[in-house]
C-alpha cells in the first residue's frame, strides 16, 4: 500500500504532513516513510543521525574508439544530441543523455557499451523500530530525478504501508512518484496559487485513477474557493490545519508536531484511517 503526499504548489506542507502521518502511524504499527522529492529532499532533516548511503546510477554509453567507424548512426539516432559523431571522434555529453540505450542498438559494429554513471543516492535510517526512513537525493546539477525516485521507491518496497513525500509540480518527478500508488493526499493552502496548483495535482491523480483526499494547511478559516473545488471534484477534506503560530514554531525548529501535541497525533491517525478507507484497504 503506497500513500502519496502531493500538492502541485511547492511549500504547502507536504513534508510536514508526510512526516507527521508516518510518525503517528509508527506509534502503533510498522511503516516506511519515503522521500521522493529528490531535488529538494527534506524528510531526513527531521531524523538526524547515522544513515546508510547507496549510490543511484543511470546507464550511459561508452564508445570503443578502436571498433568505432565514425559512421554517424548513433548521433543520427539520438534525439537529445547527447552523442555526436564529429570529424575524428565521438563526443558524448552526459548532461543531455536520457539513458534510452538507442545509441547501442543503432551501432552497426557493436562499438558502444553501457556503463554506470552516478546521479544521486539513497539514504536510509531506522529512527525507531517501527519507522524506516528512506530518502532519494539527486546530485546537484543532475536532471534525472525520476531515476532517483524510482530507486527510492524500490529501496522502500515491502508488504506493508509506505508514505511517499512527493515533489511539487505535476511533471515527470511527480508522475514517477504517483505511479503504482493506492491513495493520494493533496496538501493545499487557501491561496489562489494553492488552489490553481491543487487543481492540476488533483487532475493528475484522477488521470492515474488514484483515489484522493485533501489536507488544507495554514487555514485562515476562509477556505471557500478550495471547499467549492473539492465539492465539485468530490474530493473529501481529510484535515484542516490552522494558520497557527505555535504549529509554525514547532515546525521551524525541525520538530514533529504530533510528538509534541497529543491532539495532533489523534488528528493524523484519523488522516491515516481516512486515507486507507478511500484506498479500499484494511487497517
Amino acid at each position: 500500500m503506497k500513500i502519496v503526499v502531493a500538492s502541485g504548489k511547492g511549500g504547502t506542507g507536504k513534508t510536514m504532513v508526510a512526516v507527521n502521518l508516518a510518525w503517528a502511524v509508527s506509534q502503533s504499527q510498522e511503516i516506511h516513510l519515503i522521500d521522493c522529492d529528490a531535488e529538494e529532499p527534506n524528510v531526513h532533516l527531521f531524523y538526524p543521525g547515522v544513515k546508510d548511503e547507496e549510490p543511484v546510477t543511470v546507464k550511459v554509453p561508452e564508445v570503443d574508439s578502436e571498433k568505432c567507424t565514425l559512421c554517424g548512426a548513433c548521433g543520427e539516432f539520438c534525439r537529445y544530441g547527447a552523442i555526436s559523431v564529429l570529424t575524428k571522434s565521438v563526443m558524448f555529453q552526459a548532461n543531455l543523455c536520457h539513458s534510452c540505450g538507442g545509441c547501442i542498438l543503432s551501432c552497426p559494429v557493436d562499438a558502444i557499451t553501457e556503463v554506470p554513471r552516478r546521479v544521486g543516492m539513497i539514504i536510509q535510517s531506522q529512527p525507531s523500530p517501527t519507522l524506516t526512513v528512506i530518502s532519494g537525493i539527486l546530485d546537484e546539477g543532475e536532471i534525472a530525478a525520476p531515476a532517483v525516485i524510482k530507486a527510492a521507491k524500490e529501496a522502500g518496497e515491502w508488504d506493508g504501508v509506505s508514505v511517499l513525500d512527493g515533489p511539487p509540480g505535476t511533471a515527470c518527478p511527480v508522475i514517477e512518484t504517483m505511479e503504482g500508488a493506492n491513495a493520494c493526499i493533496l496538501v493545499t493552502e487557501s491561496t489562489p496559487s494553492g488552489l490553481a496548483d491543487l487543481r492540476r495535482a488533483a487532475h493528475l491523480a484522477k488521470a492515474f485513477g488514484i483515489p484522493s483526499g485533501v489536507v488544507i494547511n495554514r487555514s485562515d478559516e476562509d477556505d471557500g474557493p478550495t471547499l467549492a473545488f473539492c465539492a465539485e471534484e468530490e474530493l473529501p477534506i481529510f484535515l484542516t490545519i490552522p494558520f497557527d503560530r505555535e504549529i509554525a514554531a514547532i515546525q521551524n525548529r525541525g520538530a514533529i508536531l504530533c510528538s509534541e501535541k497529543e491532539e495532533w497525533e489523534g488528528a493524523f491517525t484519523k488522516l491515516y484511517e481516512d486515507t486507507i478507507a478511500i484506498a479500499g484497504g484494511k487497517l
Partner: protein, 112 residues
Amino acid sequence: MKVCITSKGDSPESVPENRFGRTPFFVIYNDETGEVIEAINNASANDASGVGPKVVQMLVSKGVNVVVTGQVGGNANKGLEVAGIPTYAFGEAKTVAEAYAAYKAGTLTRIV
C-alpha cells in the same frame, strides 16, 4: 573549404541568423570559388533539446570547415571545438553575402 553561415533565409541576400543551433537555414559557400553551393533547411531547428551537437554532427557530415554565426550555446560550443571547426561572429553584417565578405577580409572575431 566550405564556409557555413547561419541565415534567416536561403539566399546570400538573406539576413544572417544570430542563433546557431536553431537557425532556419545554413548557407554554404565554396571558399575556392566564392559561390554558394547550397542552402540547408535546418531539420533540428524546432527540436526540444540537444540541438547544438546534432547540428554540429550534420555540418561535419556535410564537410563544413568554418562556421559564421551570431552566438553559440555551451553544448554547441563543445561540439564545434571537438570537431575542430573554427567559428566566427558575423558582427555588423546585414546580409549573408556581407558576412561572407567580412570573413574573407579577415575582419570577423573568432568565438570558438
